[in-house]
Structure formats: C-alpha cells, structure tokens
C-alpha cells in the first residue's frame, strides 16, 4: 500500500496492522523517512504555484499572498480533503504559533478561496483565473510545467513541509511475498529512477532528483509531540475561519 500521508502509516502501525519488515534496499533511505514497518517511496514538498501572466508581483513567501495585489486571487486546497494541506497547516502553526493564525485571517480577509483537492486549486491558476496556489503539491505542478504550462513553483523563504509518501504491507495481506518484491523494486535504483521521472524526490539519497532536491528547500521545524492529537481541533478552527459547513 502506498499512501500520500505519512500519518496514515504511523496510525496503522500504532494499531499493529502493519507487517514488521524492512526492505534491504531501504538502507540508503534517510532515517527520517523510514520506520520499522514503513518506508518512503518518494517525497514531495508543498509550494506556492504562481502564474507569471497574472499581473501580480512574484511572491517569495507565504505572507506575500495576503498582500492587496493578491486580493481574491489565491486558492488553497481544502485541508479537510487534502492530507498534505492539513500537514502544512499543522506545520505552520507549530513553527509560528499565533502568527500562523494571523496569516490565515489575513488571507481570508484578502479573499483566499479554499476548496477541493490539489488539482481543483491548481487548475484556475493554470488558466489565469487565480494568480497563485497557497500550498500546492509540487510534483504535480512540475509535471505540468514540463508539459509546457506557464506557471512557476516557488518554495517559500520561511519554510514549508516535505511530505514523505509511505509504503507499507498490511499483516492481513494475502500476497505478502509479492508485496515485498514490489517494495524492493520501488526502492531499487531502477524503481527510484521511475519515481524521479514523475518529479517526486526519490526516497534514496543516492538517486538524483529531476528537480530541486529536498536539501535545497527550507523546511519548517519538526512538530512536537501532541501535534497529531491536536489536528481535529486545528481543522475545526480552520473550517470555522473559512466558513465550511
């Protein structure tokens, strides 16, 4: 099983549903991106996606999107339907505390629209209806750029989150041997090259990314204990701020 949310692996492992097994090919994956029963397939980062033809100044940080030039021109994926957007929300709050909420209030006042998953937030920016996405998954956009779409992926100066995509095998699986072979293959140099081909950052440190690698992206400090448990109230506060029902 491959998930886009690191949390789901932690959660399933805590319930004891995951096979405790580590691929031999996981040796070159940094320790932060593997556990006793799960390992990253690849990594993505959240970024600002900006349309240069939108007539707005090039943003360099999250806060730029709350400026008057971006009035009614910003989209954000809904944290309730996009796990990575929720991680960004949580990461920003952990790093900046109340300042993060001031930012979201300013963004709300500036007419930022919240809705849908990643593609729903991105498409209006591609056509030019909106100028920027707050917290778009980078590899999807990079693939669009490679196909000729005229947008730019900007990693904010104050830091963003890097989301690892965990692979795991359920204890209940009837095809555990095949699953192990699959994980071995994905973590082989050949498999990691395929991961790099879709503009994800490969999990193995010795396979080159076809884009800006994680080491050159400013990452928000890791969250403390208890941040997981606080997500529900975090989401409720966010949903209340943006009037979701």
């Amino acid at each position: 099983m491959i998930s886009a949310s690191w949390e789901s692996a932690l959660d399933l492992d805590k319930r004891g549903w995951l096979l405790q097994w580590q691929s031999a090919n996981a040796a070159r994956v940094p320790a932060a991106y593997k556990g006793p029963a799960y390992v990253a397939q690849g990594l993505s980062a959240l970024a600002i996606v900006w349309n240069p033809k939108s007539g707005t100044p090039r943003p360099t940080d999250w806060a730029d999107l709350a400026k008057p030039e971006f009035k009614d021109k910003v989209n954000m994926p809904d944290p309730a339907s996009s796990g990575t957007a929720l991680e960004l929300l949580s990461g920003l709050q952990a790093a900046q505390g109340d300042r993060a909420w001031k930012l979201f209030e300013a963004l709300k006042a500036n007419g930022m629209a919240v809705g849908g998953a990643n593609a729903a937030a991105l498409n209006p920016v591609l056509q030019g209806a909106k100028a920027a996405v707050f917290g778009a998954v980078d590899y999807v956009t990079l693939a669009a750029v490679a196909k000729g779409e005229n947008v730019e992926v900007i990693f904010p100066a104050s830091g963003t989150i890097v989301a690892a995509r965990p692979m795991m095998i359920l204890k209940s699986s009837k095809a555990q041997e095949d699953a192990k072979k699959f994980v071995d293959y994905v973590l082989s140099p050949k498999g990691q090259a395929l991961v790099a081909d879709v503009y994800l950052m490969p999990a193995r440190s010795d396979v080159a990314a076809k884009r800006k690698p994680a080491s050159e992206i400013k990452v928000l400090p890791p969250e403390g204990e208890g941040a997981q448990a606080a997500r529900k109230s975090l989401l409720e506060r966010f949903s209340a701020l943006f009037g979701r029902k």
Binding site: S81, L86, G115, A117, A119, N123, G128, A143, K245
Partner: protein, 550 residues
C-alpha cells in the same frame, strides 16, 4: 391471480435486494452510531449533537431553495419548448432533440468544470469576448443556472412525448368540435400531459437536491452549502462522521418523499387513459408566422445549454496547455494521443463502463416494467410499498448508496458477497437509476386502457402473453427511452463508482476523475469528448433503429 402473486413476490424481492439493503444499512447506521464497529449500543445518541448544529437548518433551507429554483426554471424552459416540439412542426425537430440530448451525455461534474473554464476570470469567454462572468458563476445563481441547463431536457422530452402521443390527438378532436387552438391546448393537451409533466418535475427536483458536483465546485467558496455537500463532507472528510452523515441522508430522503406525496396528490383521482386501441393519425400544426421566433428560442437554448459547455470541453481537450489559452499555436491533439498510448487503460475503462451501463439498462428496464405493472394494474396492498421503494433511490445521492452497499455487503455473515467485484457496481447503478424506467413505464401504463388487456384475455391469452404481446409493445417507446437514459447516465456515474470500484476495475468516470486529480485537465477533457461522442452515437443508432421498426 396466482401469476399475479408470483409477479408481486418477484418484484418485491428484487426491490429488496437492490434498494432496501443499502438504504436499510444507512438507516440502521443513522440510528445506531456504533454500528460500523459492530455494536448496537447507544441508539440515537448522536441525534442531539447533529440536530442541534445550527448549520443544519441552513443546509435544509438551501437544499429546498435550490430544488425549487431549478424546478421552476426547468419548467419555464422545458414546458414551452416541449409543447412546441410535441404539437407543432418545428423545422429540424430531430436536430434539436439531439442537441437537447447532449446535456444528458455530458456528466454534471464535467459540465461544471467546462462552465468554470468558460466563464471564470481569464476563461474562454474573456479570451474571446473580453469579459468574464466569474461573479455570477460562483454563486447560488450560477449553481441554479448550470443545474437547470443540465436537467431541463428531462422536462422537455417528457412534455414533447406526452403532447405528441395522446394529448395532441385528443386536442385534434377538440379542434374538430370547434375549439380554438389555445382553448384546446389549455383544456385538453395540457391537463392530459400533466402526469408526465409532474413526474418529470419531480425527477428534476430529486436530481437537483441530490446533485453533488455542481454546488460543491461552484458555490462552496460563496458559502453556499446543501445537504448533499454536508453529507459528502461528513462521509469523506476527516474526521469521518458516519452517524451524522447517515442522519442527514435520512433527512434528504424525507424531503424527497414529501415531493413524491405532493405529486401523488396532484395527479390523484383522474383518469388518463387515452390509448384505447383506436388508430389515430395526427398532423403536427404549422407554426406559420411564429416559425422564426420559435426557431430563435430553440437555437438560443441549444447554444447555451449544449454548445457552450461542449465548446469549453473540446477547446480544453484540443489545447496543448491550459495556460496557453485559445490560440492556433496552442492547438494540439497530444491529449488524445496520450489516451491512446496509455497501455489500453482508456479503452478498457470505456469497455467496462459501456458493459456496466448496458447491464444496468436491461436490469432496470425489466424491473421497472414489473414495478409499473404491479403499481398501476394490481390492486393489492403491496403496491404503495412497491411504488415508494422504487422511487426511494431517487432520493439517495450516489455517495449514500455507495456507503450503504459497503455497509450492507462488507459483512462476515454473507456466504458470498458482490463486494470488491464489478457486480457491486452493477448493483449500485441499478439502485441509483431504477426510478427512471419506473416513472416512464408508470406514466405510459397509466395511459393504456385496461380494455386492451381484457380483450387479450377474452381471446385466450394468458398473463405472460398479454404482457409480451400487448403491454410491452405499447410501453416500449417510453420504457426504451428510459433505458437509454439509464445506459447514458450509468456509463458515466462517478460518486458511487469512486467508492465501490474494486482494485483493477476502472470506469470512464474514474479515468477522467484521476486525470483531473493529477492536474491533466486536458487529458480528462479528451477522454470526456470521446465518451460523449460514443454514447451519443449509440443513442442515435438505437433511436434510428427503433424509428425504422415502427
């Protein structure tokens, strides 16, 4: 009479398997909040929490407002056009039929996206005409506008068929007896077509209050939410609130039931038998001086309802990049090439969807006929239950039926389960779309005089022969149309498919959805174009065949 009892039992058990099971599962989940964990504890414990939420009243109010507005506008648009088409000689009538069929061929989630790409700031309209309608589109009015254009053909086709069938012929009789055209229309045609109109408007109301994609995509940022979006949010967004979602689903069902009862009241106690075996040749009226205005009305409606979204879909499918906009340099067939070269994924998805659609059309057609026969002809106590059960799915959004089927079939106690096979998709489609054949067959049967059957019996025909030789051929035009509808809608159903499709089974809608999710709108729209073209030609072929048989 024994045959009748067998028929009744057969119909009831089929309805039980297809309709009662998923809906019952949702109902039980709504009552017992811990049911998903296998516990019957704390019945209705969450009732207070869900019902005391102040957002609930607003959700209900918005849902009713949306349903009412869409019904009103669909009636204003569909009834006049349908009357013109049914009673008068409109030049290019078959062509207009085809154009008004198009909104059916365009799945709502794709149409909504098409309208966004067309009307939003920097959209195609702005690129062509210099201004956009983003403010209008992303609002309540926008939702009503888009949804009306999607569903008004239901009214149009119901009215035009009703008028062309019996209502128009009796109006001719009125004319012979000296009534002027308007008087004949108001006193004969319109009242006779009323059950059809009411049924179609009821259908529109149900479609409007259960549609998810359009309000979710267009109006959530305007702060407009309806029951369905509330259900969807509780079902799929973290943290998942299964009992709350089930409870809102039950509320939605109750609302649609009220509409159903209202329709019953409206048409109760009248006889609509007009098909009595007497031959009738009917000449459509000439429009005379009204020809041009009528044509203008048809053309204007068709270009907004059909051409505009289709243009947007095709423009996106043939654009190399979305940011490149409408320009010759950006013209490209690469999205279509990509579809063809993806290892046969696209063709497999297409085949899967078409087979499932065909299967659903045949099964619902058969069951719909049985249901209609039981309801209209058999005077037993079971008929009201059968009628209500067959209409219930109309009130269940795809997401509810999907979750209901999971709750019902993902249980240890079944010796065999369709869950995780393609059969569960077929079950879902049959449940969701059963109301169409039922409504159409019902309306048709109501117009057939019972003396036709009596005549068959007198000549020694048994019930089966009577059904096959007398009723079926007479009901077939309506039933066949409904089955075509089911085929077209089932082969593109999204929400239940998303929930239920087993690993490795991909339908067209899932293929398109994943394209949209991955950010390749172009490829999604290319696949949509292929599907729309394909289902439209199938419908055309079938209707031409039927035409030549007559």
């Amino acid at each position: 009479m024994r045959a009748n009892r067998v028929l009744l039992l057969l119909t009831l058990s089929a309805l039980g398997a297809i309709v009662v099971l998923p809906i019952g599962a949702v109902l039980l989940q709504a009552i017992f909040p811990d049911l998903a964990q296998g516990s019957w504890a704390r019945p209705l414990a969450h009732l207070g929490e869900t019902l005391s939420n102040p957002a609930l009243l607003e959700l209900i109010g918005n849902t009713l407002r949306l349903g009412a507005c869409v019904v009103l506008l669909s009636a204003l648009l569909g009834i006049p056009l349908g009357c013109l088409r049914g009673l008068c000689r409109v030049p290019g009538a078959r062509f207009w039929d085809l154009l008004f069929l198009l909104p059916f061929m365009i799945p709502p989630y794709i149409a909504a996206l098409g309208w966004i790409l067309l009307l939003q700031p920097a959209g195609y309209l702005q690129q062509l005409a210099g201004s956009h309608l983003g403010g209008f589109l992303f609002s309540f009015s926008g939702v009503v506008f888009v949804m009306t254009l999607n569903v008004f053909p239901v009214v149009y086709f119901a009215v035009s068929r009703g008028m062309a069938g019996s209502a128009g012929r009796l109006a001719e009789v009125g004319r012979v007896f000296g009534g002027n055209p308007w008087r004949c229309f108001w006193r004969i045609s319109l009242p006779l077509a009323l059950p059809g109109i009411a049924a179609s408007l009821l259908l529109v109301f149900a479609m409007a209050i259960e549609e998810y994609g359009t309000p979710a995509v267009l109006a959530s940022n305007a702060g407009f939410f309806v029951l369905v979006t509330g259900i969807e949010r509780r079902f799929s967004d973290w943290p998942i609130d299964l009992p709350g979602a089930s409870l809102l689903s039950v509320l939605l069902v109750v609302m649609a039931m009220f509409a159903f009862i209202a329709q019953r009241r409206l048409t109760a106690g009248r006889s609509y038998e007009t098909l009595t075996g007497k031959p009738g040749e009917q000449a459509p009226r000439e429009l005379g001086a009204w020809k041009l205005p009528a044509l203008a009305l048809f053309a204007a409606t068709a270009s907004v309802a059909s051409i505009a979204p289709l243009f947007s879909i095709l423009a996106t499918a043939f654009s190399g990049t979305l940011s490149g906009g409408l320009s010759v340099a950006n013209l490209s067939t690469r999205h279509f090439e990509a579809i063809l070269t993806q290892g046969g994924n696209a063709t497999r998805a297409l085949l899967t969807s078409l087979s499932l659609g065909l299967g659903a059309a045949m099964l619902t057609g058969l069951l719909g006929l049985l249901v209609a026969y039981c309801v209209v002809r058999l005077r037993t106590r079971g008929r009201a239950i059968i009628d209500a059960l067959s209409l219930l799915p109309n009130t269940m959004p795809g997401v509810v039926v999907g979750v209901g089927l999971i709750l019902a079939w993902n249980q240890g106690f079944w010796p065999a389960t369709p869950y995780n096979t393609w059969v569960i998709l077929l079950l879902a489609y049959c449940c969701l779309f059963l109301p169409y054949p039922v409504r159409y067959a019902n309306a048709a049967l109501q117009q057939i005089g019972e003396n036709l059957e009596a005549a068959a019996r007198v000549h020694g025909a048994g019930m089966v022969v009577t059904l096959r030789r007398i009723l079926l051929p007479l009901v077939w035009p309506s039933l066949g149309a409904a089955m075509l509808l089911v085929f077209a809608i089932a082969s593109r159903e999204l929400v239940a498919s998303l929930l239920l499709a087993p690993t490795g089974v991909q339908t067209v809608s899932l293929f398109i959805w994943r394209q949209f999710e991955q950010g390749s709108v172009g490829q999604g729209m290319a696949m949509s174009s292929v599907t729309i073209a394909l289902t439209t030609s199938v419908m055309l072929l079938v209707s031409r065949k039927r035409g030549s048989l007559r």
